[in-house]
């Protein structure tokens, strides 16, 4: 049994919490997010008969009022950068966060998640942008917390990446 700490990062209201809610085992209430600034859940992933327990640190959103507490990032084996496809600005936030995380804990695997795929018609980020990012070597997954599409894939991708690192 292997355990890994993983962070969920992203701008305010990109759907980090919703993304994990239906797919993980948790005991803490959402209000921890607004008080302590982090909520921790657990998800079991199986990769090639290897069971991995992911401890997901859902860190309270990055915006002008709330800075991500760097100490929460410590010890992470990888992280998700969550972007709201319908809000282009959240992609910029994601990059800022990525930079800061790298400064704090060094280079660890991460997956860029474009969430709210169910609202595709309202997206501000086009396929070309996403393709370009993929070509740059970034791992990109499109998800919908509402339908569950892509979520499992995102977890598997990151875990596989972490195990290979």
């Amino acid at each position: 049994m292997i355990k890994k700490k993983i962070c969920m990062l992203g701008a305010f209201a990109v759907g980090k919490t919703s993304l994990v809610k239906r797919f993980v085992k948790g005991i803490f209430s959402d209000k921890y997010l607004s008080s302590v600034g982090v909520k921790i859940d657990k998800k079991k992933v199986i990769i090639e008969q290897q069971e991995v327990d992911l401890l997901l640190w859902d860190i309270h959103g990055e915006d002008e009022f709330q800075k991500v507490q760097r100490s929460y990032l410590r010890g992470s084996s990888g992280y998700f950068l969550v972007v709201d496809g319908a809000r282009r600005a959240t992609l910029n936030t994601a990059f800022t966060l990525q930079k800061r995380t790298e400064e704090t804990i060094g280079k660890v695997p991460f997956v860029l998640i474009f969430n709210k795929w169910d609202l595709k018609d309202e997206w501000e980020i086009d396929d070309k942008t996403m393709d370009d990012l993929s070509k740059d070597g970034l791992m990109v997954v499109k998800t919908s917390a509402k339908s569950g599409q892509g979520v499992e894939e995102a977890f598997l991708t990151l875990t596989r990446e972490i195990l290979e690192a």
């Binding site: 700490k5 657990k42 084996s77």
Partner: protein, 580 residues
């Protein structure tokens, strides 16, 4: 002059051109500042932000507002106490409840402890210890009876917050240790970041209700113990030592930890020692005296309950008896302020309810009666009433059945006559059966008759005058005769006494016959001399004929020289007298 005026106009124009717009703005600003309404509006726009900004810098606003807020609270309380009470209620009520329940809990515990410690050998030992060490007894007790349980121990990887090892005490329900340990790490980070504590200055304890979390931090791992109750002072030391030992032995594994906790399996027993070594102190025994006290309470309650049930049953029986008692009709039974009120109807001849109360072993002072008198048609009471009305003598037994009054026994003739008259005026009696009554007078008359007929007067040989020394017999005879006459009068009879003269068998028959007649006649003379009428008597001389003696001796000759009597009673044909 003209040039000067021109210059002044030109200067004015220049000034207007240069500072005209600013001047207008100044005027507008002045107006704005002079308008209190606008000023208030402007200040209100920035006031909250201004307060936030200043509060983050220093505490001057709080200090400035303090007297105002105090005054406001005072005014609010003065105006309407309830408003503030209502506002504080949600906060105060649970707090007060908690305090009260903890006080009660403490009281029970201290009672139990006091009982235990005051009377047990251990208690005496502790008292001695208190005397010896000079410490207060309470402190000694506390020292010996600290109750706590180490419920869980976590070994946490410091950097990742992941659980390396986790043990739980038996019968303790624990949440997912991975999540708890991660959150614990997050909270630790949060506190350190929030309060600007230097890294390396670790969080040592968290306290929630009766649980506390003691934390020991090492360079690579953190050891946290979750404890219910008051942890002993040396528990932190135990944690420290355990953690140091783990660091010493597992430093390689700790440094290279990459999510795989398997290498830390062997230290499980070490963590379990943290749980178990504290368990041996866990001793909680209820004092036997508490059981005795409890037993006494239960016993007393049992007695009370027994009394209660017994009284309840007695009362139920009493009421039942009262309801079935002849001559008593219960209409209402009420219970007011510990007393019982019984109302109804009662025949004065019926049993006394207060007496029945005593018989039922109930307290008479707790029952108040209110009886309306009435006459019951219950046969027994009717008979009692009839007996009283008729002034029935002891010798008469009455029976009342189906409207017929049966009388049995003996009574005077006057009583019978009176009873016949009275019976007619008593409602419910259709017939008076007096067949079986024996008249006292008639019986008496028979007795007198017998007595007279057994009496005799003796004579000497050949003498017609009665022998001397028979004065008593004569007196008895006179008295009996008088009684006979008066009884005959009452009963409406004629009484006739035949005086029979006798002689012995010596001498001639003729002489004897004559002598016997003379003897009878002499006795008649005695009786008439006593005031009796001659017509009530007849005389006869029978000589020696009755009784006929075969062998005459001197003794029986003497007894045969006599006069005796025969009484005859006949009905007097008299108007008005129906029955004897």
């Amino acid at each position: 002059m003209n040039t000067k005026g021109h210059k002044s106009i030109a200067f004015g124009e220049l000034r207007r051109l240069l500072v005209g717009p600013e001047q207008t703005e100044i005027v507008q600003l002045k107006e704005r500042l002079a308008d209190p309404e606008l000023l208030v509006k402007d200040v209100s726009e920035v006031l909250p932000e201004a307060i936030i900004l200043r509060s983050s810098r220093d505490k001057k606003i709080a200090k400035a507002l303090e007297p105002t807020i105090e005054e406001a609270i005072r005014a609010s309380v003065k105006k309407d106490r309830r408003a503030l009470a209502d506002a504080l209620f949600p906060v105060m009520a649970p707090a007060i409840r908690k305090v009260i329940s903890s006080i009660i809990l403490k009281m029970i515990q201290s009672l139990n402890q006091a009982l235990e410690h005051s009377f047990s050998i251990q208690g005496l030992k502790w008292r001695l210890e208190a005397l010896r060490t000079g410490k207060p007894f309470g402190e000694i007790v506390l020292l010996h009876t600290l109750i706590y349980q180490v419920e869980q121990v976590f070994l946490i990887h410091r950097n990742t917050g992941l659980v390396l090892q986790h043990v739980t005490a038996r019968r303790v329900a624990a949440q997912d240790p991975d999540l708890v340990s991660s959150m614990l790490t997050a909270i630790q980070d949060f506190l350190q970041d929030s309060f600007g504590v230097e890294r390396g200055e670790p969080l040592e304890a968290l306290r929630i209700g009766d649980r506390s979390v003691l934390v020991e931090q090492g360079p690579q791992a953190t050891l946290a113990g979750v404890i219910r109750g008051t942890p002993p002072a040396d528990f932190q030391v135990i944690l420290r030592e355990t953690l140091d030992d783990i660091h010493l032995k597992q430093i390689g594994a700790l440094e290279s930890f990459d999510g795989d906790a398997t290498p830390f399996e062997p230290i499980r027993s070490q963590l379990e020692d943290c749980l178990q070594s504290q368990h041996k102190q866990k001793k909680r025994k209820t004092s036997p005296l508490l059981f005795i006290l409890l037993g006494a309470v239960v016993f007393l309650m049992g007695i009370w309950l027994f009394d209660f049930i017994r009284d309840y049953q007695r009362w139920a029986h009493y009421v039942e008896r009262l309801r079935t008692e002849p001559g008593i009709v219960v209409t209402t039974i009420e219970k007011r302020s510990g007393k019982k009120y019984i109302s109804g109807l009662r025949d004065p001849l019926a049993s006394e309810p207060a007496k029945m109360l005593k018989e039922a072993s109930l307290e008479p002072e707790k029952v108040i009666f209110n009886w309306e008198p009435y006459q019951s048609l219950y046969p027994k009471f009717q008979l009692t009433r009839i007996k009283g009305l008729l002034r029935t003598p002891e010798t008469i037994r009455l029976k009342f059945q189906d409207g017929i009054l049966h009388a049995d026994g003996s009574a005077s003739y006057q009583w019978i006559v009176e009873a016949r008259r009275l019976v007619k005026s008593i409602p419910g009696i259709t017939h008076f059966d007096e067949e079986k009554i024996i008249h006292i007078e008639l019986r008496d008359m028979e007795i007198i008759r017998e007595r007279i007929e057994k009496q005799f007067l003796l004579f000497r040989t050949n003498e017609a005058e009665i022998a001397p020394g028979q004065q008593n017999t004569i007196q008895d005879l006179v008295a009996n005769t008088k009684r006979l006459c008066s009884l005959a009068q009452v009963l409406g009879k004629n009484a006739r006494i035949e005086i029979v003269g006798h002689t012995d068998n010596t001498g001639s028959e003729e002489t004897n016959m004559k002598l016997s007649r003379e003897r009878a006649h002499n006795v008649l003379s005695i009786l008439t001399s006593k005031g009796f009428k001659e017509e009530n008597f007849t005389t006869v001389g029978v000589g020696p004929k009755e009784p006929l003696l075969e062998e005459a001796t001197e003794i029986n000759r003497e007894s045969i020289r006599r006069v005796d009597f025969k009484v005859t009673l006949t009905d007097k044909p008299k108007e008005g007298v129906v029955r004897p």
